[in-house]
């Protein structure tokens, strides 16, 4: 009530308002009235990101890469996208950090300290592809609400940690376990401590894969704060939202996990295809599991001008969720003809694969686009047009292309 009156007074311009102590978070409200430019620290310095990265949102932080920034075989932190649903935890004390395993389907809930986790279980390192479910959202028509990711919400870094499976074995889980759901230390945008910004998970089978880690290192160093320091669940090949950051609790559920952004329309697509713009009832939306086949041309940067007769080397990465990429092609004539690229095997399951090709010549001067198309091990390829429209704008795996001019 009082908050509302505060708001209505506020809209009259330079009004002072009385904030009673019963206004939850009232003391943080005026922050929003500072000019945003002054309020925000430099995200590139704050998170050690390259200054060519694109900030989509600063509250919460959402930052994406550009295709040419993702040229490294192993994505360094400076080019890794940030997708946060809430505010980054404040005052993290690693010495007090613990992980609790609880839920309907544990024999008995158990809590581990961080050092216990590191010493008690064997450590593994995998290179894992993490792509935001909404990567490519900006292209959907009609548009979908949310962060308008273009192509840069994907990364493939080395993650070091322990297998979630080993921890679950140590705790002891019941036969009726269906799903796991993570809980974390991040803060809801409203700063309401009762609300979790995000609490998602995966089916028990995915949780028990070799590559599903409770990670404490990224590329050999402590996980950067924005990426989940000091403990992150990493489940490669699935929407990156299943890889919970700042994890302090994992619930073993006897039903599909029902935490924040598991239900409703979040990270879900229509169970049956719909026409663009069609309304879909919540109960007709199904959870996204493995991400679809996709690729990016990371070299050259779009806009390259080459001389007539000059050949062009291209390279990039391709990935296919739980599957492998078995074929990689490029086209310089908008899909009329396709030529094959060399595609490497992944260094481990769920890691992206590197492709390259030498385009020996363009037929004449002029404007070209180089399109890339990956096909997964089940024969499913990337569409050149946008894939099936869905209300929240997920899973856009349309072919990536770059512009080339022959002069």
């Amino acid at each position: 009530m009082k908050r509302r009156s505060f708001i209505s007074k506020g809209t009259l311009g330079t009004f002072s308002a009385i904030l009673g102590t019963d206004i939850v978070f009232g003391n943080t409200i005026p922050l929003g009235y500072k000019p945003l430019a002054l309020q925000d620290p430099d995200p590139f310095k704050l998170f050690q990101k390259d200054s060519d990265m694109t900030v989509l949102n600063n509250k919460p932080w959402n930052i994406e890469a550009k295709a040419h920034l993702l040229d490294d075989k192993i994505t360094p932190n400076k080019f890794m996208f940030i997708r946060n649903n809430g505010l980054i935890p404040e005052n993290i004390d690693v010495n007090k950090w613990s992980l609790t395993i609880d839920g309907e389907s544990v024999q008995k809930s158990k809590t581990y300290s961080l050092s216990e986790l590191k010493s008690k279980f064997q450590q593994h390192t995998y290179q894992l592809t993490l792509e935001c479910g909404g990567n490519g959202r900006s292209e959907f028509n009609p548009p979908a609400k949310g962060n308008q990711w273009t192509i840069g919400a994907v990364s493939c870094a080395n993650w070091t940690g322990i297998r979630l499976r080993d921890v679950l074995e140590d705790v002891g889980i019941k036969n009726d376990a269906v799903y796991i759901g993570y809980h974390a230390a991040d803060i809801h945008l409203s700063r309401n401590p009762e609300k979790e910004p995000i609490s998602r998970g995966v089916p028990i089978a995915k949780a028990q894969q070799d590559e599903t880690l409770l990670a404490f290192k990224m590329n050999g160093e402590d996980i950067p704060l924005a990426h989940g320091y000091p403990l992150r669940l990493v489940s490669g090949g699935w929407p990156a939202s299943t890889s919970g950051k700042w994890v302090n609790r994992i619930s073993i559920r006897n039903k599909e996990h029902d935490g924040a952004k598991m239900t409703g329309t979040s990270y879900r697509v229509p169970c049956e295809p719909v026409a663009p713009g069609e309304k879909v009832a919540d109960e007709d939306m199904c959870i996204i599991e493995s991400m679809p086949v996709k690729s990016l041309i990371t070299y050259p940067k779009s806009g390259a001008m080459i001389k007539e007769g000059q050949s062009l080397n291209i390279r990039g990465h391709a990935w296919a969720g739980e599957l492998e990429v078995s074929k990689m092609e490029y086209s310089i004539d908008f899909g009329s003809t396709w030529n094959s690229c060399t595609i490497e095997k992944p260094v481990n399951r769920l890691a992206w694969q590197h492709f390259s090709a030498k385009i020996s010549g363009f037929p004449k001067k002029g404007y070209y686009e180089v399109w890339a198309r990956a096909t997964d091990s089940q024969g499913t390829g990337q569409p050149m047009l946008l894939p099936g429209w869905n209300p929240k704008g997920y899973l856009n795996n349309a072919c990536h292309r770059i512009a080339i001019k022959v002069v």
């Binding site: 809209t11 330079t14 002072s16 000019p35 430019a37 900006s138 779009s302 001008m305």
Partner: protein, 155 residues
């Protein structure tokens, strides 16, 4: 007769005293319950209020854009800044495109799940601003590449 009157008078005064006593008890009970439910009334604390001056929305507009937030200048800008940048960044608004219906649905979703307050009589101004300045653009099934920065690629 007189003793009978005296008796009646005594009964009446006793009756009045009883009524008064019950009334006092009722008031006491009511007061007790009230205090129990609102413990703060007894804490005779000085009004812990802070007077906060809300700066007028910084008026600097360049090329039709409100510099501090990146919002397009237009009717309803003030209401949008004051209601839509408390919890999230203005960027979450400016990167989206929705119809009036879509913006209303988004506001309802925020009210149901994200602790957004009732926008009251400002909702119309906010929705009109958003639907006017951030309306969907037709993109078709695939857009042409734009904003290409051309550069010579040395071999």
């Amino acid at each position: 007769m007189s003793s009978e009157n005296e008796f009646k008078q005594q009964v009446r005064s006793l009756y009045q005293k009883l009524i008064a006593a019950f009334g006092l008890i009722a008031i006491a009970v009511f007061a007790f319950i009230y205090v129990a439910l609102n413990p703060s009334v007894l804490q005779n604390k000085p009004e812990e209020t802070a007077i906060i001056t809300i700066p007028e929305v910084e008026g600097k507009i360049e090329n039709g854009i409100h510099v501090a937030t990146g919002f397009i200048d237009g009717t309803g800008l003030t209401e949008v800044i004051q209601n839509c940048t408390n919890c999230h960044s203005a960027k979450l608004v400016t990167q989206n495109r929705m119809t009036k219906e879509g913006w209303v649905a988004t506001i309802r979703w925020m009210q149901e799940t994200q602790n957004l307050w009732d926008l009251g009589n400002q909702e119309e101004a906010i929705v009109n601003y958003l639907a006017t300045n951030y309306a969907p653009q037709k993109k078709g099934r695939r857009e042409v590449l734009t904003d290409i920065e051309w550069y010579p690629l040395e071999k």
